[in-house]
C-alpha cells in the first residue's frame, strides 16, 4: 500500500522547516534507517530517515523549499508495481491533532465581602491532664511512639544512632529500636535522601533527619523532583510517604551558611506538606501526623526551641491535623500571624502591646502547606489589621503570600496595609550585634503593630 511521507517535526518547538536536500530520487528503493532528506529547522540541519521500506514513488516538495509546514506530505512511498498517483492527490489528514476541551477564561469578578469562619478549635478535650516537656523530648516521643506502632517506620540520618543525635533528638532510640531502624549514615545528604525516597516508593515510611536544613540543600533535588512530584507524574500510582525533619533557621552565631530559614522555599512546592511547629505539644502532635501522612512532609524545627518547655497533653496517642492554625491569644485590635520561632517575637510583642492598651490576637499557622487561611481571614475581619512575623528573608516570604490572600479575600475589612516583619535582606552575619539586628526583633513587631493601628 502506498504511504505518504509527511514533513516531520524534529524538535519540540518546530512548526515548519526548509527541505534542504533530497538524498533519494523517484524510483529509488529505501529501507528503514536510510537517510531520505536533509531538513533545516531553526536550530540545526537534521537527517531524516525512512521508517518503512518501499520505493520512492513521487517527491511532492522540491529541494530548497522553505517554510514547509509540519505534516505536509513531502513524498509518497509505494510498493513494487504500484503507482504513486492514487495517493498523491488527497491532502494530509488533519485528524491527528487531539481534541481539546473548550475552556472559559476565569473572570475576576468583584464580589461582596464574604465573612470567613475561623477553623480554630481545641486540639484535645478540655480537662486533659498536661505534663511539662521540652520540644526535644516531644519530638523524640513522637518518633518513638510511631516506630512502636508501625515497624515500617525507620529513622535515618547523620549521627542519629550511636552519637545519640547531633541535637540529642534521637537519644536512646538506637537502644530501643536497634541499628536496622535507627540508621547512621555517612555525611552524604544527596545520597541518603535519595535512598530514603526510593525506600518510600517501595513501601517503607522513612524519617530522614537532616542535622540542619542548610545541609538539605545538597539533597533538595530529591525532596522536590523525586519526592514531591512522583505521585503526580505517575498518575496517582506511586506515592512517597516520607518525613524530612531537622533544625531550620538561625541558631546563634553560626554564620551565613548555617542560619537560613527554608519555610517559604518548601511552602512553594505542590506535592509537599510543610510543618513548622512552635510549641512542644504541636511538635509532638504534628510530627506523629507527619509520620502517618502518605505524602512527603518537610518538618522544620528550630535549634533554639529544642530546649524550651511547654505543656503537652498526657495522652496515650494524639495527633494534630495539618491546615489548622492555633489562636494563642485572642485580641480585638490587630492580628499578628506567625509560625515557628517567629511566635516568640509575636507573643512577646503582644505582651508589650497590652501594656500600651493594644489588644493583639496572635495566630500560629503551624503548617505552611496547607495554610489555614480561614482562621487568619476570620481574625482580620474582626481586627481589621494584620502584621506577619517570620525570620526568613523578605522577598517571596510567607507574609507576602498572606498579604496577597488577605487583600484578595478581605480587602474591604482592612483599615491599614498589612506589614510583613521578616529577617533582613542580608546573609547572616557572625558578629553578635549584627546578627541580632539581622533577625526580627520584638521591638520591630511592636512598631509595626503601632503603625497599622495608627498609634
Amino acid at each position: 500500500m502506498a504511504t505518504q511521507i509527511l514533513m516531520p517535526a524534529l524538535s519540540p518547538t518546530m512548526e515548519e522547516g526548509t527541505l534542504a536536500k533530497w538524498l533519494v530520487k523517484e524510483g529509488d528503493t529505501v529501507k528503514s534507517g536510510d537517510i531520505m532528506a536533509e531538513i533545516e529547522t531553526d536550530k540545526a540541519t537534521m537527517e531524516f530517515e525512512a521508517v518503512d521500506e518501499g520505493i520512492v514513488g513521487k517527491i511532492l516538495v522540491a529541494a530548497g523549499t522553505a517554510g514547509v509546514k509540519v505534516n505536509t506530505p513531502i513524498a509518497v512511498l509505494v510498493e513494487e508495481g504500484e503507482s504513486a498517483d492514487a495517493v498523491a492527490a488527497p491532502p494530509a489528514k488533519a485528524d491527528a491533532s487531539p481534541k481539546t476541551e473548550a475552556t472559559a477564561p476565569v473572570k475576576a469578578a468583584a464580589k461582596a465581602p464574604v465573612e470567613v469562619k475561623s477553623n480554630a478549635s481545641p486540639d484535645w478535650p478540655e480537662g486533659t491532664k498536661m505534663k511539662t516537656m521540652t520540644v526535644r523530648e516531644a519530638l523524640r516521643e513522637a518518633m518513638s511512639e510511631e516506630m512502636r506502632a508501625n515497624d515500617r517506620v525507620y529513622l535515618m540520618g547523620e549521627e542519629v544512632g550511636e552519637y545519640q543525635g547531633a541535637y540529642k533528638i534521637s537519644q536512646g532510640m538506637l537502644d530501643e529500636f536497634g541499628p536496622k531502624r535507627v540508621v547512621d549514615t555517612p555525611i552524604t545528604e544527596h545520597g541518603f535522601a535519595g535512598i530514603a525516597v526510593g525506600s518510600a516508593f517501595a513501601g517503607l515510611n522513612p524519617i530522614v533527619e537532616f542535622m540542619t536544613f542548610n545541609f538539605a540543600m545538597q539533597a533538595i533535588d530529591h525532596l522536590i523532583n523525586s519526592a514531591a512530584k512522583t505521585l503526580y507524574m505517575s498518575g496517582g500510582q506511586m506515592g512517597c510517604p516520607i518525613v524530612f525533619r531537622g533544625a531550620n533557621g538561625a541558631a546563634a552565631r553560626v554564620g551565613a551558611q548555617h542560619s537560613q530559614c527554608y519555610a517559604a522555599w518548601y511552602a512553594a512546592v505542590p506535592g509537599l506538606k510543610v510543618v513548622m511547629p512552635y510549641s512542644a505539644a504541636d511538635a509532638k502532635g504534628l510530627l506523629k501526623q507527619a509520620i502517618r501522612d502518605p505524602n512527603p512532609v518537610i518538618f522544620l524545627e528550630n535549634e533554639i526551641l529544642y530546649g524550651k518547655s511547654f505543656e503537652v497533653p498526657d495522652l496515650e496517642d494524639f495527633t494534630i491535623p495539618f491546615g489548622k492554625a492555633r489562636v494563642w491569644r485572642e485580641g480585638a485590635d490587630v492580628t499578628i500571624v506567625s509560625f515557628g520561632i517567629g511566635m516568640t517575637y509575636a507573643l512577646e510583642a503582644a505582651d508589650k502591646l497590652a501594656e500600651d492598651g493594644i489588644s493583639a490576637e496572635v495566630i500560629d499557622l503551624r503548617t505552611l502547606r496547607p495554610i489555614d487561611y480561614d482562621t487568619v481571614l476570620a481574625s482580620v475581619q474582626k481586627t481589621n489589621r494584620c502584621v506577619t512575623v517570620e525570620e526568613g528573608w523578605p522577598v517571596g516570604a510567607i507574609g507576602n503570600h498572606l498579604s496577597a490572600t488577605i487583600m484578595q479575600r478581605a480587602f474591604d475589612y482592612l483599615d491599614a496595609p498589612v506589614i510583613n516583619c521578616t529577617g533582613k535582606d542580608v546573609p547572616m552575619p557572625y558578629a553578635a550585634n549584627l546578627e541580632k539586628h539581622a533577625l526580627i526583633t520584638t521591638a520591630e513587631v511592636v512598631e509595626a503593630v503601632k503603625s497599622v493601628c495608627y498609634r
Binding site: 481539546t100 476541551e101 535519595g194 526510593g198 516508593f201 513501601g203 507524574m233 498518575g235 500510582q237 505524602n295
Partner: protein
C-alpha cells in the same frame, strides 16, 4: 568495539532465542513508531529513543524474577516494554492521553507501574541511582531476596550521587545491580571527552563493589552476566556493577542532529554489531527458524505496534479536572 563473533552455535534453546528476537524487535519497532508519531506532532517535548540498545534490557529481564524492581532514566521505553508493560499504555503516555500509564501527566520520561515493579522514568540525570538503592534498601529491610536493577548511562556515571550511593550500597550490602548502559555518548559528549578512565565499572573497586564489563550488544552475554550478578545479590553479597557496552543509533533526543559522530561510525556498528541481527543469525544458521518464520514474527510485532499507535491516537486527552488530581495521596 570488536567485530561480531561468528554466530554458529549457542547453548540456549530455540524458544528462548525466539523470545529474545521477539522482545528486541518489539522495542525497535515501537521506538521507530514513536519517532514517526513525534514527526507527526503527536508526541511532544523530549523523546529519547532506545534503538540499538535493546539487548541490554531484554538480557537483564531474562534473569529477573517476580518482585524484582527496576528503575531508570529518561530513555525508558525499552525498559518498560521489556518488563511486560502494555505497549498501548506506554504509547498513549507518549501522546499525552488518558490511556497512558500516568494518565498523560508524566510523558515519555515519567512512567511507572506498581504492578510490574517499574519505578520510573526519571528526568534528572543520576537521580535514579540512589532511588534504586533505596528500593533495594526496602527489600533488605523487609527481608525478601529481591533485587533492584538500577540503570544509568555513561553520562550519569559522572554525577556525585552515584558515588555517594556506591559507598552506602556496599556499606549496607544492598541487593542492587547497577547497570551502566555505556552507549558512549552523554548527549553529545563522547566518553573520550568526558571521562579520563575508559572503564566505568572499575570505579566500583574504590568502594569495594564487584563488577564486570559486558558486550551489551549480545543478549546472551547480557543474560549470563546478569544471572551471575543476581545470584550474588540474592545471596546477600550485593551490590554488583554491570557495565554494558552498547550503542544508540539515534540522536540523544528527537532534536539532536548528531553531528558529534560520523554516519560511518553508526553504520559500522549497525552492520557489524546489531543485537537483533545477531539473534536472527543464531536462529537461522542454527536451523531454529526460517526466514518465513521470522517474517511471521515481524508481522505480529508490527500489528502490536500499530495497535498501540492507534490506541495512542484514539485515546482522549485527560479531562481538565486531572490537572488538580494526584498532587496529594
Amino acid at each position: 568495539m570488536a567485530a561480531q563473533k561468528k554466530p554458529t552455535k549457542s547453548n540456549t534453546s530455540k524458544e528462548e532465542l525466539l523470545g529474545f528476537y521477539r522482545e528486541m524487535l518489539l522495542i525497535r519497532r515501537f521506538e521507530e513508531k514513536a519517532g514517526q508519531l513525534y514527526g507527526m506532532g503527536l508526541i511532544g517535548g523530549f523523546c529519547h529513543l532506545y534503538i540499538g540498545q535493546e539487548a541490554v534490557v531484554v538480557g537483564i529481564e531474562a534473569a529477573a524474577k517476580e518482585g524484582d524492581k527496576r528503575i531508570t532514566s529518561y530513555r525508558d521505553h525499552g525498559h518498560m516494554l521489556a518488563c511486560g508493560m502494555d505497549p498501548k499504555g506506554v504509547m498513549a503516555e507518549l501522546t499525552g492521553r488518558e490511556g497512558g500509564y500516568s494518565k498523560g501527566k508524566g510523558g515519555s520520561m515519567h512512567m511507572f507501574s506498581k504492578e510490574k515493579h517499574f519505578y520510573g522514568g526519571h528526568g534528572i540525570v543520576g537521580a535514579q541511582v540512589p532511588l534504586g538503592a533505596g528500593l533495594a534498601f526496602a527489600d533488605k529491610y523487609l527481608g525478601n531476596d529481591n533485587v533492584s536493577f538500577t540503570y544509568f548511562g555513561d553520562g550519569a556515571a559522572n554525577q556525585g550521587q552515584v558515588y555517594e550511593t556506591y559507598n552506602m550500597a556496599e556499606l549496607w550490602n544492598l541487593p542492587v545491580i547497577f547497570v551502566i548502559e555505556n552507549n558512549q555518548y552523554a548527549m553529545g559528549t563522547s566518553m573520550k571527552r568526558s571521562t579520563k578512565s575508559p572503564s566505568l565499572w572499575e570505579r566500583g573497586a574504590a568502594y569495594g563493589i564487584k563488577g564486570e564489563a559486558v558486550d551489551g550488544m549480545d543478549v546472551l552475554a547480557v543474560k549470563a552476566a546478569t544471572e551471575k550478578a543476581v545470584a550474588i545479590c540474592r545471596a546477600g553479597d550485593g551490590p554488583y556493577i554491570l557495565e554494558m557496552h552498547t550503542y544508540r543509533y539515534r540522536g540523544h533526543s528527537m532534536s539532536d542532529p548528531a553531528k558529534y559522530r560520523t554516519r560511518d561510525e553508526v553504520d559500522k556498528i549497525r552492520s557489524e554489531k546489531d543485537a537483533i541481527e545477531h539473534v536472527r543469525d543464531l536462529l537461522v544458521q542454527g536451523g531454529h527458524a526460517t526466514d518465513d518464520d521470522l517474517k511471521a514474527v515481524d508481522k505480529e510485532i508490527k500489528a502490536i505496534v500499530n495497535e498501540a499507535a492507534e490506541f495512542a491516537k484514539e485515546s482522549p486527552e485527560p479531562a481538565l479536572s486531572e490537572l488538580w488530581t494526584d498532587i496529594y495521596a
